[in-house]
């Protein structure tokens, strides 16, 4: 770090622009620390925005000279997060690189000031993260921040003794208030025979089980849940959301699907894309009072559930160029990469319309929330067999069992009106019922 502290050749690591609508990002983790060697395009940190979590690659090869934005801090796009000293050389003595210490480098290590502090920091960091089981348990029981406790064990390890001493000196959380006795006594519950947990601590075996599993105070929301929440509330507060529902007979799609072993979604997506090009006011964005209509390209968002973690809407650009098979492949690809957290920022922005597809879980109808600044979102629901009245070419009615589904579309009344939405759904329905369309 002797070189980095005197270096004059610095390259800035800035908060990247992640698609058009993202204005800020939060540093989640620094993969490199000050003094670490980093290659160009090597991941230097992880960031999080309301759209996506991603990694930032180093813009240059060199030594990390300075980290400006701390983990957890949120800064605007373009703000300098760190500096890379590009005139540093690999292999120079540094705290983070073991086994060095010859010649100039060793002298630098012994130099007072910044160098010494850094070495100390690095040592403490590596040791501070390792705690024994009993220390972890005591920390949990007493709600302790272990980083506050000075370790006396080997290499500064926080031992049980240290925790006990810390507690004795008044550290830790406040004692909970005394239980207030009530004269009311509920009936004794029937004795429930529970199997003795094999791995439970012995002294806990005799303790009564808590009545419920609810943790008082709840859990803080994850960053993704917070982001989804604020975007959904913003949408409902901004857009004039209406939902129109049409019913479609999916029997022909069912047949095509069975032949190709694909799911309904790529067929519905393909039909939706074709219909959007006929009704471009729905293939659009509405931002700052401007309705931008895309008449020759559909950038289709597909909502991908990440399980309990939340959901993300990757965008298939120029989806109009893709066949059903091509769409199926792309949908599978983005779903896999979304769940592996491998999407790039540009893959989750720039959509002109979104399809959400919760029907796989058995629901038949919903009112989706518009993914702003888009003006429409189509919710495709479960395909179920129903008795329906069908009319033959001679006008004779009969009741038949058909594979039916509801097409639920939420649209922004600021951008269009109900008649247009209904016409769109009607056209989409005709495409699905007349499959193949070409």
């Amino acid at each position: 770090m002797s070189s980095s502290s005197t270096s004059t050749h610095h390259v800035d690591v800035t908060m990247p622009q992640m698609g058009v609508s993202v204005a800020e990002g939060t540093v989640v983790e620094w993969k490199k620390q000050v003094g670490d060697w980093v290659e160009a395009d090597e991941i230097i940190c992880s960031i999080s925005t309301d759209k996506i979590d991603t990694d930032v690659e180093s813009p240059a090869t060199g030594r990390v000279a300075e980290i400006i934005v701390a983990v957890g801090d949120t800064v605007d796009v373009g703000v300098v997060m760190a500096k890379i000293a590009t005139d540093a050389r690999p292999g120079e003595a540094h705290a983070s690189e073991n086994g060095v210490g010859t010649g100039e480098a060793a002298a630098a290590l012994e130099a007072p000031g910044e160098a010494g502090e850094l070495i100390g920091d690095a040592t403490d960091k590596s040791q501070a993260k390792r705690y024994s089981p009993v220390v972890m348990r005591m920390a949990a029981e007493h709600n302790l921040d272990l980083s506050q406790i000075e370790g006396s064990g080997r290499g500064g390890r926080v031992s049980k003794k240290d925790v006990l001493a810390f507690l004795e000196n008044g550290g830790g959380a406040e004692e909970p208030p005394m239980h207030i006795e009530s004269p009311y006594r509920p009936d004794e519950p029937a004795i429930k025979r529970k199997p003795k947990p094999r791995l439970q601590r012995v002294e806990e075996v005799a303790k009564p089980e808590p009545e419920t599993d609810v943790v008082a105070g709840g859990q803080p929301l994850s960053r993704m849940r917070q982001a989804i929440g604020s975007r959904m509330v913003e949408s409902l507060q901004t857009a004039a959301t209406c939902t129109t529902i049409a019913e479609a007979d999916m029997s022909r799609i069912e047949a095509a699907r069975a032949a190709s072993k694909l799911s309904y979604l790529p067929f519905q997506a393909r039909a939706t894309i074709e219909t959007l090009l006929e009704f471009p006011q729905l293939n659009a964005t509405l931002e700052d009072g401007r309705h931008t209509v895309y008449s020759d390209a559909v950038h289709l968002g597909i909502a991908v559930s990440l399980g309990s973690g939340g959901l993300i809407v990757p965008v298939i650009r120029d989806a109009q160029d893709l066949s059903v098979e091509g769409l199926a492949k792309r949908i599978k690809d983005i779903a896999v990469r979304a769940r592996a957290n491998q999407l790039t920022p540009d893959e989750v922005s720039g959509g002109t319309f979104t399809i959400t597809n919760p029907g796989g879980y058995g629901s038949i109808m919903a009112t989706p929330v518009i993914n702003l600044p888009q003006v429409g979102i189509l919710d495709t629901e479960a395909v179920v067999k129903r008795p329906v009245v069908i009319t033959d070419e001679l006008g004779n009615d009969s009741i038949a069992i058909r594979s039916m589904t509801y097409l639920c579309m939420s649209w922004d009344h600021r951008a269009l009106d109900g008649a247009y939405a209904a016409q769109f759904l009607s056209a989409l329905r005709k495409k699905l019922e007349a499959w193949p369309t070409i």
Binding site: S132, P133, V134, G153, R154, R157, S159, K160, R201, V202
Partner: protein, 320 residues
């Protein structure tokens, strides 16, 4: 209360039980006129006669087999293996007959097998072994291993009275080295662990001769060390082990037996499984490496756990 050696306490226990209960009798090699290889039964033949102090051929399988048969008929035999190493010749009778007869036929096999065990006197590979773990693995056998004169007498009386087959591991090295006050008359010592010394910072778990090694090794350490004497290996006093570990959170387990699958391995497993969240450091074992015991005194000392080995292990763990 008279002071006795560990060996005298064992003799005393047998004498008490033989005087009180005529069903109790002894079998073994050279235990009669000769008084036993270690003189544990010296004078017994004069008091109880050759029918109750039976010299046998050099045939451990026959000794244990006869003991089992007489126990099934209602007697209470005490069989001596001249050295515990020789018990391997009686392995089938112990493991497949004594240990399984109650399970198979509901018959009590009330035998006691005395096993003079352990090394430390240049006895070499056939006279120094600690074979208790062979039998811990076989269901139906109880195994006790006293470290003091008082426990030697009490545990042996309990073993004689216990309706199950009991292996009594008596450590040769302690025979005349360990002395202590021993109550007169008959008394039973339960098959549970005892705290040899109380402490708060670390627990050393041991049995037999290693209890004394542990006490000596930790007497002047910078830290309060508890020494737990298991006394009984089957049944193993899990609650006593866990109670001590909960208190100290650090454990050193000492085995004079070869390390692989020794009694201490079972103790370590119990701690890992049931006291994980109470540990403040790795469970440390000090044991004899998996080699035969050498004749050479220097080599023998280098394989058997010594006071310095235990002290160093404790010091390291205390500093962890």
């Amino acid at each position: 209360m008279p002071t006795m050696t560990y060996l005298q306490a064992i003799s005393d226990a047998m004498r008490e039980e033989m005087r009180a209960d005529e069903r109790v009798f002894l079998m073994g090699e050279d235990i009669g006129t000769f008084g036993g290889a270690f003189k544990v039964t010296d004078g017994f033949i004069d008091e109880f006669g050759p029918k109750r102090v039976m010299d046998t051929p050099l045939a451990e399988s026959a000794i244990i087999g006869c003991a089992i048969g007489s126990a099934v008929e209602g007697l209470r035999p005490i069989a001596e293996m001249q050295f515990s190493d020789f018990v391997s010749c009686g392995f089938d009778q112990l493991v497949n007959v004594a240990g399984k007869t109650y399970y198979r036929m509901g018959l009590s096999v009330n035998i006691t097998v005395r096993l003079p065990s352990g090394g430390g006197f240049s006895g070499g590979p056939y006279h120094s072994q600690n074979p208790e773990a062979w039998f811990m693995h076989a269901p139906g056998l109880k195994i006790v291993a006293p470290s003091t004169a008082e426990d030697a007498k009490g545990l042996l009386i309990s073993a004689v009275r216990d309706p199950n087959p009991v292996l009594f591991m008596e450590h040769k090295h302690l025979y005349r080295r360990v002395k202590g006050d021993v109550p007169t008359g008959a008394y039973e010592t339960p098959f549970t662990a005892r705290i040899a010394r109380e402490g708060t910072d670390l627990t050393v778990i041991a049995y037999g001769a290693m209890v004394h090694t542990a006490l000596e090794a930790t007497a002047d350490l910078d830290g309060s060390v508890e020494v737990l004497d298991l006394r009984s290996l089957v049944p193993l006093d899990e609650e006593a082990i866990l109670k001590s570990v909960r208190k100290t959170s650090k454990v050193v387990i000492v085995d004079e037996a070869n390390q692989m699958c020794a009694a201490g391995a079972q103790v370590a497993a119990i701690i890992a499984e049931r006291a994980f969240e109470d540990l403040d450091g790795p469970v440390v074992r000090v044991a004899t490496p998996d080699v035969p015991i050498p004749f050479s005194p220097t080599l023998e000392q280098s394989v058997l756990p010594q006071v310095d080995d235990v002290r160093e292990a404790c010091r390291e763990l205390l500093e962890y």
